[in-house]
C-alpha cells in the first residue's frame, strides 16, 4: 500500500517537473498573456471573489464591512418576498426566452441560410439589428403606450377587439407577456451570428453524400448532417442564450418602470440594482450576485452536457 502511495507521489512530482520545464521553455507565453491576465483578474475574477466575500457581511460602503455570516442569504430566501417574486419572474423569463430565443436564433439562421445570396445579407441585418440598436427598445414604450395614441391600443381599438385603451405596461397581468415579446425580439444576437456563420462553413460535399445516401427531406438533413456539424456553434450559442436570459434588467426597467407595478417585472438583476445602487446595501446585493453566478454556472454546465450528446 505504501509503495502505491509512493508511486503516486513520484508520478505527481514528475508531472509537476515536466510542467515546470514546459513553463520555463514557454516563459515568453506568460509575458504575452500577462497584460490581459492582470486586467481580466482585476475586473472579472476579483469581482467574483469580492462579491462572495461581501455576501457574508453587512457593508454600506461608508462603514467598514461587518461579518454577519449567512444572514444575508437567510434574509434573501426566508424574508425577502420581493426577491422571491424576482426569482419567479427571472425564472419565467429565462425558461421561456432562453430556449425559445435559442431555437429561434438557430431556426432563422437555418432558414436564412437557404435564401439566395443577394437577399441573405439583408435578412441577417434585419434579424440582427434589434439586438445592437442601443436602447431602441424604448420604442415599445410608444407601441404599448397606455393611452389611445399607442400603436397597439389603436390597432386593437380599430379592429374592435377592445373598447378602451389598455395599460399594457402598468397592468401586472400584461407586463410579463409584453416583456417576453420584447426580449425575444432582441434575442437574435451574437449566438445568431455564430449560427449563420457556422452554417456557411459546413462542407457542401456532406450534403451531396447525404442525397446519395437517401436523405429525403430537410428535417432529416438537419438532424443527420447539419446539427452534428454545428455542435461547436450550438455550445457557444448556449452560453450566449444563458447570458441574455438571466441578465435581463434594462428592458423591464425601461418599459415597466422601476419599481414596476406589484413588482410584476422585477427580475433578480433589477433587485440587485435596487439594493446596490439605490440602497447601497452592498453586502446584500453581493449575496444576490453570488447566487446568480452560481445558478448561471450550474445552468451552463447542465446545458453543455446535454448539447454534447447532439448527433452522437
Amino acid at each position: 500500500m505504501s509503495s502505491f502511495a509512493a508511486k503516486y507521489v513520484n508520478l505527481k512530482k514528475r508531472n509537476t517537473l515536466i510542467a515546470w520545464e514546459k513553463a520555463k521553455r514557454n516563459r515568453v507565453c506568460y509575458l504575452f498573456l500577462l497584460p490581459y491576465a492582470i486586467l481580466f483578474f482585476t475586473f472579472f475574477i476579483l469581482p467574483m471573489i469580492t462579491s462572495i466575500f461581501y455576501s457574508f457581511t453587512y457593508y454600506n460602503i461608508l462603514e467598514p464591512a461587518k461579518y454577519i455570516g449567512l444572514q444575508n442569504y437567510i434574509n434573501l430566501i426566508l424574508q425577502d418576498e420581493v426577491f422571491l417574486t424576482a426569482v419567479k419572474n427571472t425564472f419565467l423569463i429565462a425558461v421561456i426566452t432562453g430556449p425559445l430565443g435559442y431555437i429561434l436564433s438557430f431556426g432563422f439562421a437555418w432558414f436564412i441560410h437557404e435564401l439566395p445570396r443577394w437577399i441573405r445579407t439583408f435578412a441577417v441585418l434585419i434579424f440582427y439589428a434589434p439586438s445592437i440598436s442601443g436602447n431602441a427598445y424604448a420604442v415599445f414604450n410608444i407601441i404599448f403606450r397606455g393611452d389611445s395614441y399607442g400603436w397597439f391600443n389603436a390597432l386593437l381599438m380599430n379592429l374592435g377587439i377592445i373598447k378602451t385603451p389598455q395599460l399594457w405596461l402598468t397592468n401586472p397581468a400584461t407586463i410579463m407577456p409584453v416583456l417576453i415579446f420584447v426580449i425575444l425580439w432582441m434575442s437574435m444576437s451574437t449566438g445568431f451570428l455564430a449560427f449563420v456563420a457556422g452554417l456557411q462553413g459546413i462542407d457542401r460535399s456532406q450534403y451531396e453524400a447525404g442525397y446519395v445516401d437517401g436523405i429525403r427531406n430537410r428535417w432529416q438533413e438537419l438532424y443527420f448532417i447539419t446539427l452534428p456539424n454545428m455542435k461547436p456553434m450550438l455550445l457557444f450559442g448556449a452560453v450566449m442564450a444563458i447570458t441574455q436570459s438571466f441578465n435581463v434588467a434594462d428592458v423591464p426597467m425601461a418599459l415597466a418602470g422601476f419599481p414596476s407595478t406589484d413588482y410584476a417585472a422585477h427580475t433578480v438583476v433589477v433587485h440587485l440594482f435596487d439594493y446596490g445602487y439605490t440602497r447601497f446595501e452592498m453586502g446584500y446585493a453581493s449575496a444576490i450576485a453570488t447566487l446568480l453566478f452560481l445558478v448561471m454556472i450550474l445552468c451552463n454546465k447542465l446545458i453543455q452536457n446535454a448539447l454534447r450528446r447532439v448527433g452522437t
Binding site: V28, C29, F32, L33, P35, Y36, L39, F40, F43, F44, P47, T50, S51, Y54, I61, E114, P116, R117, T121, A123, I126, A129, P130, I132, S133, G134, N135, A136, Y137, A138, V139, F140, G150, W151, M157, N158, W185, L193, V196, A197, Q200, G201, R204, Y207, Y211, N217, R218, P232, F236, M240, I242, T243, N247, V269, L272, F273, S286, A289, L292, Q304
Partner: protein, 299 residues
C-alpha cells in the same frame, strides 16, 4: 486546420452556387419557409421602422389618433430641436461627443492589442495553465452588466479610478468576448506558417506582429466592431460623476427622459443612438461572419 478547409469551402460555395434546387426540398416547404421569414422579418423590422418614422414626425402627428405608421408631413424638426437643446446644455455638447469618441478609440485600441497578444499564445502555444485560463474566460462570457458592476465599483474606488475614463476603458481592455473570438479564429491558422517563421529565426513577438496579425484581419475588424458597439452604448453613469466627463449616450438619454414636451426629441435620440452600431455592422458584415465561423466551442 479543418476550420481553414471549411472556410475555403464556404467561399467556393458562395462563389459558384448557381442555386440548383436541392433534390430533397419540397416546394410546399420552401413556400412555407419564405412566408414565415417574411412575416417574422416584418415583425423584427417594424419597431425599428416605427422608431425612425416617429423621429420624422412633427409633434402634432406624434399625438394623433389613430397613430400612423409613416409620417404624413415628414420633417427633420426633431433633429434640429435636438441640436438646439444640445446647444443649451450646461456642458458644451461637443464635450460629450469628444468623451465618447475618446473612450471608444482608446478602449478599442487597447483591447485589440492586449486581447490579440493573449489570444496568440493561447491559440498557438501549449503551456501549463493556458487551457485552464481559457476555460475561465469562457465562463466569464456570461458575466455582464450589473452583476459585476458592484464589486467592480468597490475595486475601482480602491484603485482611485472612479470618475476617470479609465473606469470604463480598463474593463473594456479585458472583455472576454474579444479574446474568445480572436483565439478561436487564430486556431484556424496553419501551424506550418508559424513553424516556418520559427525556422527563419523569428522571435515570438515578430511572429505575432508580422505573421499572425496580418493574417487575422477579419477577426480584428470583428473585435473592433464589437468593442465600438459596447463602448458607444456605454452610459458609464455609475462610475463617472463629473458632468464634463460623461458620455454622449448618457447625455442623450437625459434629453430623452425630459418628459412629454421632449417626445419628438426623444424619438430623434433613439435614432441617433441606434444608427452607429447598425451602420458599422452593415459595413463589416462579411468579415464578422467570417470570424464568427470559428467561434464554436470545442469539447
Amino acid at each position: 486546420m479543418s476550420v481553414v478547409a471549411n472556410k475555403a469551402n464556404g467561399h467556393r460555395m458562395k462563389g459558384t452556387s448557381g442555386r440548383k434546387r436541392r433534390p430533397n426540398r419540397s416546394i410546399a416547404g420552401d413556400i412555407g419557409v419564405w412566408l414565415l421569414l417574411i412575416i417574422v422579418a416584418i415583425i423584427m423590422a417594424l419597431p425599428l421602422v416605427l422608431a425612425i418614422s416617429n423621429s420624422l414626425k412633427p409633434l402634432n402627428e406624434l399625438f394623433r389618433f389613430p397613430p400612423t405608421i409613416f409620417p404624413i408631413h415628414p420633417t427633420l424638426d426633431n433633429f434640429s430641436d435636438l441640436t438646439v437643446t444640445m446647444g443649451q446644455s450646461w456642458v458644451p455638447f461637443s464635450r460629450y461627443l469628444v468623451n465618447t469618441v475618446w473612450i471608444t478609440l482608446l478602449g478599442t485600441a487597447g483591447h485589440l492589442l492586449i486581447a490579440s497578444m493573449a489570444a496568440f499564445v493561447l491559440a498557438k502555444y501549449d503551456f501549463p495553465g493556458g487551457r485552464t485560463f481559457f476555460s475561465v474566460v469562457v465562463v466569464a462570457l456570461m458575466f455582464n452588466g450589473y452583476v459585476t458592476a458592484i464589486p467592480n465599483f468597490i475595486t475601482m474606488s480602491k484603485l482611485h479610478l472612479i470618475d476617470t475614463i479609465w473606469s470604463v476603458v480598463l474593463p473594456a481592455f479585458a472583455s472576454p468576448m474579444g479574446l474568445f473570438l480572436m483565439k478561436q479564429f487564430m486556431e484556424g491558422l496553419p501551424f506550418s506558417l508559424i513553424e516556418s517563421a520559427k525556422l527563419d529565426g523569428a522571435r515570438e513577438f515578430r511572429i505575432f506582429w508580422t505573421i499572425v496579425m496580418p493574417n487575422v484581419k477579419p477577426a480584428w475588424l470583428t473585435l473592433i466592431i464589437f468593442s465600438v458597439q459596447g463602448l458607444w452604448n456605454n452610459r458609464a453613469s455609475a462610475v463617472i460623476y463629473s458632468e464634463g466627463k460623461k458620455t454622449l449616450v448618457y447625455a442623450l438619454q437625459q434629453i430623452q427622459a425630459g418628459g412629454i414636451a421632449r417626445t419628438g426629441q426623444a424619438a430623434a435620440v433613439i435614432v441617433v443612438v441606434m444608427i452607429v452600431p447598425i451602420i458599422t455592422f452593415v459595413l463589416s458584415q462579411s468579415q464578422i461572419l467570417e470570424t464568427m465561423a470559428s467561434s464554436g466551442l470545442k469539447d
